[in-house]
Amino acid sequence: MVLIKAHNRWLITTTFVLALFLTVFPVGAALSWLRPEFITLLVIYWVLVMPQQLSLLRLWLLGCAVDLLVGSMLGQHALALMVVSYVCMLSYQRVRRYALWQQSAFVFLIVGLQQLVSNWVHSLSGSTPPSLVFLMPALASALVWPFLYLYLNRLRLRLRVS
């Protein structure tokens, strides 16, 4: 995320900062399970379109930022993001050729994996999810993915981010 004007890479940083805001935006208790994992969605997106711009170290720092923000155990989201982004970095060449609904399914799997790792760390501190409800954010993320993908694609092409 080097800020060179000609490449317009500031867009990457900006989207992540916006996602951090969306992560803590207050919603009612009923809706809190339906909040898409914006950070993970963006990680998937940027790894798919420009894998050279995101290193695991940066993503680890990003995960630590999320931990500080949410107030969870330091490293919980960092670990989950690393696992998830590693999977994405291994498979981006295939996934970027997928149709949108197939990508959505991929997103469901990836975010589900992230929730799994995250909840595993979380359960070490004593709070276990009541049921499989902790996979709800994965479903919400998969539903949001096509819109996010199309919109960010348009934005990225207009700004010629490279």
């Binding site: 208790a29 399970w33 923000l69 330091l74 004593g126």
Partner: protein, 240 residues
């Protein structure tokens, strides 16, 4: 220190609801204001009447305590704070308030709302602090039944409307509707603040303990204005 990174995010995401509240407060018709005012006046009158009795009761209490040679009740000082954020993780019951180290907030400080005990401060940053609610699955606090003084431990289960009492034997006198107040035994919460009300007691002979479910008195997901209590030796900043 690192946690201060989170403060601006919570303060900014709180802006829309703050704006909404401001709008609702400032765009009111004269009738509504008058009605509101009347209601408040009536409430004030009721509280003032209670206060009159309170003075004589307090004096009597002090006299009786002197007779018993016990310590005097310490008056708690409070600081009014406002909720600015809620933990985005539905599994952890934490809230963020807009008072921090700069206002003299300290670790472990209890938080109240108008109805009862809400939780305790677990992380202090420069401008905000994080509060663990009493319903979090990792939280428990010592309480006693105000009717007969039976002591128990109220444990959170991760449900905003439910706490359970741990290790209450089947023979203990607990009834539905009993008020639980903080007992002050844990040295963390001051004594005598309402915590919860008993909603169900199940005595199953097959189980070693009675299953007692209680409902927190505080409006844990509705209160926006909350009170931070300064016990005996807390900081002097922001006294009310």
């Amino acid at each position: 220190m690192l946690g201060s990174f989170a403060s601006p995010f919570y303060l900014v995401t709180d802006l829309p609801s703050r704006l909404l509240a401001w709008g609702q407060e400032s765009v009111l018709s004269r009738d509504q204001l008058q009605e509101h005012n009347d209601a408040l006046r009536a409430e004030l009158l009721i509280h003032k009447r209670k206060q009159q009795q309170m003075a004589s009761l307090a004096a009597e209490n002090v006299r009786l305590r002197q007779l018993l040679n016990s310590a005097e009740m310490i008056k708690d000082r409070v600081l009014v704070a406002e909720l600015v954020g809620v933990s985005p993780d539905p599994l952890t019951h934490r809230v963020v308030i807009n008072k921090g180290r700069r206002h003299g907030v300290g670790l472990g400080q209890p938080l109240l709302d108008a109805e009862g005990l809400m939780g305790q401060v677990v992380e202090v940053n420069e401008l905000t602090s994080q509060v663990l609610l009493i319903t979090d699955a990792t939280h428990a606090l010592p309480v006693q039944i105000s009717r007969n003084g039976v002591r128990a431990v109220a444990q959170g289960v991760g449900d905003l409307y439910r706490l359970t009492l741990r290790h209450v034997s089947n023979t203990v006198d607990v009834r539905v509707g009993d008020l639980l107040v903080s007992s002050g035994l844990g040295q963390r919460f001051p004594e005598g603040y309402p915590v919860a009300e008993v909603t169900s007691v199940v005595n199953d002979p097959g189980q070693p303990f009675a299953r007692v479910v209680v409902r927190p008195k505080a409006h844990l997901n509705r209160s926006r204005h909350v009170l931070l209590v300064f016990g005996g030796k807390a900081a002097d900043a922001g006294e009310l």
